[in-house]
């Protein structure tokens, strides 16, 4: 029994969100007074194993198999199933990435363990492990528990925990041999590729930097684009900016554009006309910069920055780039 956290590989290192999952798993292990194991799987995973070693846990379990060289739902689900059967953990913890969404449901079917997806927090309450998840378009919260004492598969939403909270250590590695045959991997994957996205899907963006008429002129757009880039955000705009042709129409938020509900809506020079507000009021957090202290956007914002965006935006961009 214990917590098993599975690391996801990105390039030659640990996926950023997996570190958050480790932080979550460490927190769970502490609260539940359980042992924590870290699972790394793949092919030629020594670099990954080395990185995993430095994370505080009881052990790192490494599964090396040539069929795990590329991700496949079948291969990853099968190996995870075998590890779960051997180790019988109380919880399997991962980050809620696109890969996890893909193969963890299959693990759920193979092992009979429920998959509690996209949770934002964990607490131990009267001996129960309670997970919190957003429901109903992220507007309500719900508490979820595993029924009947079986193992639970849990994925944590990005930023539910902070990667910087991960405790470091020097953890022993245990290699295990597991079997996986070519017939078991039914899918064939091609090389991943990138697409220049002409039409951006603002509705699925986690962070949006949105710009309004307050920026004054189109020459200021690159300044805000820099900020968005530094923040890993999509850039969006209110109608006046779109109407002036400063940004393309698919970037418009509001009654005549997209309705968005990102984790963070960072508005720059937007006053907060109702036509705009209806498209973004569902955002989880709103930060607004405006020079007018009475701008209606401030009534909605969690954080109101009254000031000159021409000064604040470049400074913030710099601070973000330097961190």
């Amino acid at each position: 029994m214990g917590i098993l956290v599975i690391l996801e590989q990105k390039g030659n290192s640990i996926h950023g969100m997996s570190l958050e999952a480790v932080a979550a798993a460490q927190d769970m292990a502490e609260k539940l007074n359980s042992k924590l194991s870290i699972l790394v799987m793949g092919n030629d995973i020594d670099p990954l194993t080395q990185q995993a070693k430095s994370l505080e846990a009881s052990e790192v379990i490494a599964v090396n198999h040539e069929l795990l060289k590329e991700y496949s739902c079948d291969g990853f689900a099968e190996i995870t199933k075998q590890v779960v059967e051997i180790e019988s953990p109380e919880f399997v913890v991962m980050a809620h990435t696109y890969m996890v969404r893909d193969f963890l449901p299959s693990v759920s079917v193979f092992t009979g363990a429920p998959f509690i997806a996209d949770v934002i927090s964990f607490r131990a309450e009267d001996g129960n492990s309670v997970f919190t998840k957003q429901m109903f378009n992220s507007k309500l919260g719900s508490d979820i528990v595993v029924r009947g004492g079986s193992c639970g598969l849990v994925s944590f939403q990005s930023a539910a925990y902070q990667a910087s909270a991960v405790k470091r250590g020097d953890t022993p590695v245990r290699q295990i041999e597991l079997s996986l045959s070519e017939e078991q991997v039914r899918s064939k994957s091609e090389e991943p590729f990138q697409e220049s996205s002409g039409g951006v899907d603002l509705t699925s963006a986690d962070v949006i930097v949105s710009v309004g008429r307050g920026i004054g002129e189109d020459t200021k757009i690159p300044m805000v684009e820099e900020l968005a880039k530094a923040m890993g955000a999509e850039i969006a705009a209110s109608r006046p900016v779109i109407d002036s042709g400063w940004l393309p129409p698919f970037r418009q938020v509001g009654s005549s554009g997209q309705n968005v509900s990102p984790k963070l809506y960072f508005s720059v020079g937007i006053s907060g006309a109702i036509q705009h507000v209806v498209g973004m009021k569902g955002s989880q957090s709103i930060i607004a910069i405006n020079k007018d202290p009475d701008a209606p956007i401030f009534e909605l914002a969690d954080y109101a920055v009254v000031g000159d965006l021409n000064e604040i935006v470049p400074k913030l961009t710099e601070a973000l780039q330097n961190q």
Binding site: P240, V241, D243, I274, Q275
Partner: protein, 613 residues
Amino acid sequence: MHFSFFEQVILLVFVIFSVSSFTYEIWKRISIIIKGTGTLPIDRIGERCLRFFREVLLQEKVIRERFLPGLMHALVFWGFMAFGVITLDHFVRGFNGRLLGETAYSIYSWVAAPFAVLVIIGILYLAYRRFYLKPKELGKKSITSGLVAIFITLLMATYMLTELDLPENIEKLNWWGHSFLILAFLFLIPRSKHLHLVLAPVNIFFRSFTVPDHDTVEIDMEASEEELDSMLSGLTKMSKKQALDIFSCVECGRCTEVCPANRGGGLLDPKHHFILDLKDPMLHSSGVDVLGQINVEAGWECTTCQACTDICPVGNHVEKSDEIRRHQVLVEGQVPQEYQKVFRNLQESGNTEGAFQSPLADSLPDYTPDKDYLLWLGCFARYGLDPDFENSVRSFTKILDEAGVTYGVLTEEMCSGDPANRLGDKLTYQMLMEQNKEQLEGVKKVTSLCPHCVVNLDQEYKKYGEVSYKVEHHTQVISKLIDSKKISVSRSSSEKLTYHDPCNLSRTLDEIDAPRNALNASSSKYFEMEEHGNKTLCCGAGGGLWWKKETKGRTHLVRAQQVVDSGAETVATGCNFCFGMMKQGLGPLTPDDQKEIQVKDIADIVAENLVAN
């Protein structure tokens, strides 16, 4: 001049060839027109004759819409009328006869000769305009137009030569020249836009008095499959009048010139998309089943403002967005996602927003039969599509209260169906209309601040059957209250005030005066914008486009820019959609150093200047 037997045979051959070719081409088109659905309307015959007299014989509309080219056109037209008798006489001479006696002819020549000069002036100006000034709306260079200009000039020249005393052989040569020109012209007419010479007068006579005038689509949910198929296949067939329109088009491009979608940089070009693009398919198929071929993307851009139909000099009902949209919705099922959402909201909740509550409606008195008016709010006001519009509703109720007029709202008011109707979902429209008619049973007088609702509750519902009530737009009610001194208004408003005519109010309901009466009573600084009355320019929200997410053009900014340029401090409107659209447009367009232009409803202006009785 004497014509030998041989000469007469040659003449006869050419006349027969030219006349039969002309007749054949005309007949070909008539046989297509009569395949159209419905009948050509002949109601209000007196008004039709009067309109014919003014628009055809006096050329009133042509001259009014484009003064100089219009006047030149009129000169050519009147000249042609004058030359009818002379031309007939000309050919009778070829068979050694005379239509007019020598004296009668020479007297008539005194009338015709000056016209020959005027026609030459007219046609030369028109050629100068087409080939030198090259206005965009006339389109690509037209060879036939050039030919026709040369023909007409030569015709007049050869006619004038006959008036001179020429040697016999030259006179005869001139005679043959004149004859061939006429016969060639006759050959050319039906094959070109010059067919309008023949069809435009007919088309103007049959023009509908109702705008817009689309066929109703009645859907029987119990219909058999065959009945359904025949109903659906009928949706792409033109009416007789629509078919006549296509052949009457003179390709002047006035419709495209006034089209708000086109002016805003959109794709829609009514002259081509709604008219000329359909001509070849009609001729090729010898039929009228062509409405499905209208450019779909262009069709969705139309704001149904009716400016194109209103301005057409040959009496065409240009706008055909209704036809292409209902085909897309009912037959193809191809509907932009944002409109699908509006339709679903209408079906599920009876309003465009899918809302359950209206705090505004809850705060107003309920309608009971003892009230003077049923105050129809419309979804825009009811569900706060622009929250500021609530104030305008309150302004209107303040006026009614002041005048002692009683009113109430329906607790279960549904959407009048305007978006469904204009966007082509006739099934949802029918459902809403039936429910609304039931609710309005026994109601006598309805008033609304939304001209879209007024048009539908009144004119559109009536197309599907009788209604028991009368509907007045709120500006009409206000104007009457001012005239009857039920309210007193002082002309104390001192801001520079102009008025944006809503399309539905001006072009469809033909209400130009009531809003102006109300504004002039309240303001001494009222002025007209250049495009006003039934020449107004759409705000961009009509035809369901309020709900459109992405448009190629910037339709809504063209009008707002005009308001900015007019120097107005306040712009009044009489329509909630115009109100909302104006506000969205004026914000970004107002220069930073200029005070933001106020957008108000007429009710707001009057209410602000009410004087207690």
